[in-house]
């Protein structure tokens, strides 16, 4: 058995999603190689080399990998060694390039695993998490994306694995990077936050999300939203929690003015503690909430911000 994890990073730092992916990889078998493909990313390789359980880091440091264009990265992955398992995090980066890797290898991809049963059998959610499928692969290479909220993060220090430089440069003229707009925020990232406060259609406007910000500031929390709030134009889509947005599992999830549509629950029901604040006592969100407060959010939020 030989396992490769492709690191998620921004050329400067190794993303926590990679640490969860390494945990999933180590559940398959011992000894994990990590591929760091990027530009001026030696620091990321060093960070990956210090994760316990990593045998070797492969570093492909070239401008062609700077923006993780899938046409280049997938071509690199299929040439960087002979592996029985290739894993990456089910982030928008991983979901973009890994199916290309599977197709180039002529094998299936197993998307979004939440558990490892054996080296060829995995559990993954289907129907927005309303069912869990156990699937078995007979392919020579198992190509897998990992739902990071389902696996604890591996330790980030305590190892000094060797870093090997790969000279493979996969230039291509099919696609060109033409810009990126990342939302700048002092707050923790949604998928990495230990507390999230989310607003739904009940917030009535984007302006009213300021009430949520005040509570989030007190808690050091990230801010999320339901699809209804995004569709209504209150907040941008990168804040969306749900089947069609981000899947989160924080220690504490506070749902404000969110009714609890199936598609939203799919994105947050694995949170450790769920609080629901909604004036409709019949809202389905209360069926999954540990603590429910039936009241007007425009009264509750300022009070929370004051008393926390």
């Amino acid at each position: 058995m030989s396992i490769l994890v492709i690191a998620e990073h921004d050329n400067a730092s190794l993303k926590p999603a990679t640490l969860s992916t390494i945990t999933a990889a180590l559940a398959i078998g011992p000894g994990v190689d990590v591929l760091v493909a990027g530009a001026s990313c030696a620091g990321v390789a060093a960070a990956a080399a210090s994760v316990p359980g990593v045998s070797k880091v492969l570093l492909a440091d070239n401008a062609v990998y700077a923006n993780q264009l899938p046409e280049s990265v997938a071509a690199l992955v299929v040439e960087c060694g002979s592996y029985t398992h290739i894993l990456t995090a089910a982030t928008t980066t991983g979901k973009n390039f890994l199916p290309r890797v599977a197709a180039l290898l002529d094998v299936a991809q197993i998307s979004d695993i939440i558990a490892v049963k054996s080296s060829d059998t995995f559990v993954r959610p289907i129907y927005a998490g309303n069912a869990l499928a156990t699937v078995q692969s007979s392919d020579a290479v198992k190509v897998i994306t990992v739902r990071t909220t389902a696996f604890a993060e591996a330790a980030s220090a305590g190892n000094a694995a060797p870093v090997e430089t790969l000279a493979i440069v996969k230039e291509q003229s099919l696609s060109t990077f033409a810009g990126q707009q990342l939302s700048v925020s002092e707050r923790p990232e949604l998928t990495a936050a230990s507390i999230i406060v989310s607003g739904g259609r009940g917030m009535q406007s984007g302006e009213n999300f300021k009430l949520i910000e005040k509570v989030a500031d007190k808690l050091g929390a990230a801010i999320g939203a339901s699809r209804a709030a995004v569709d209504a134009g209150f907040v941008p889509n990168d804040m969306q929690v749900g089947q069609t947005g981000k899947i989160v599992a924080p220690e504490l999830y506070i749902a404000v003015g969110i009714s609890g549509a199936i598609q939203h629950l799919a994105g947050m029901k694995d949170s450790k503690v769920i609080v629901a604040i909604n004036k409709d006592a019949e809202a389905p969100i209360f069926q999954v909430a540990d603590y429910g407060l039936v009241d007007d959010l425009f009264k509750v939020l300022p009070e929370l911000a004051e008393k926390l």
């Binding site: 973009n96 094998v107 033409a178 939302s183 009070e303």
Partner: protein, 249 residues
């Protein structure tokens, strides 16, 4: 320019599915079926590109049992020009679907393929990327903006933390995200007109594609149920319980 749109017949997004008693899958008998919502966005985008005068023809393809012709008809009523039904068993794996689509892309000399980013039944998010890879095409996944510019394609993509813009050569594959557009409703005259539009039926054998997969479903189970907790009477009680009972703040 010729556009191919792939649509999948799935259980309606508003149906809450139940796992079968024998754990072989989910109960779909008599369930309401529909075009996968992301595929519907792909159909809408194709029609908009044609309406702008940037495409000559929109072909819609669906892969599965005979019933998926209903979803092809729906797409035709929305404005697609003609349909192709690849008649095969339901539940093909994404790689097999990608190979079938590649065969059609080659046969029809397609310039742009539009697919939904995932189907809401199997949640795989693979077909577009796989089709692009095996056809040597670039991909613009999770698109929230698509523009044809001087023979190239500008795609704005939804990524974690924001948006990314890529320029693709044609032919290319685009997978659609939710914010790309809001699909129209079919008008009654267009529904009538769609009945006369042609649907060509082919099989995987006709297309020379082996649809076998190395992946098999062992069992399907219901997820653990989360039970409702308690209702608190005030903000003070909520804060107190989160501090002392749940110990999360």
């Amino acid at each position: 320019m010729k556009i191919l749109v792939a649509v999948k017949r799935v259980v309606d997004a508003n149906v809450k599915v139940r796992v079968k008693a024998d754990n072989s899958g989910v109960e779909l008998a008599n369930a309401k079926m529909a075009i996968n919502p992301f595929c519907e966005i792909a159909v809408e985008e194709a029609i908009r590109i044609k309406e702008k005068g940037q495409a000559d023809e929109v072909i819609v393809v669906s892969i599965g049992e005979k019933a998926c012709q209903e979803q092809i008809r729906t797409a035709l009523a929305l404005g697609a020009d003609r349909g192709i039904h690849v008649e095969t068993e339901d539940g093909l794996q994404p790689l097999a679907v990608a190979k079938l689509l590649r065969a059609i892309v080659q046969r029809e000399h397609i310039d742009l393929v539009l697919v939904g980013k995932l189907s809401i039944d199997t949640d795989n998010n693979q077909v577009g990327q796989m089709l692009a890879a095996i056809s040597g095409m670039p991909q613009g996944t999770f698109a929230c903006g698509v523009e044809v510019q001087d023979g190239k394609l500008k795609v704005v993509r939804e990524i974690d933390g924001g948006e990314q813009t890529v320029l693709l050569t044609l032919p290319a594959v685009v997978s659609t995200d939710l914010r790309l557009n809001e699909p129209r409703y079919a008008s009654l005259p267009n529904i009538m007109k769609a009945k006369k539009k042609p649907i060509d039926t082919v099989t995987p054998t006709d297309l020379g594609v082996d649809v076998q997969s190395g992946l098999r479903t062992v069992s399907v189970e219901a997820p653990p149920v989360r039970t409702a907790g308690i209702k608190v009477g005030s903000v003070d009680e909520l804060i107190a319980r989160l501090k002392t009972e749940a110990k999360v703040i």
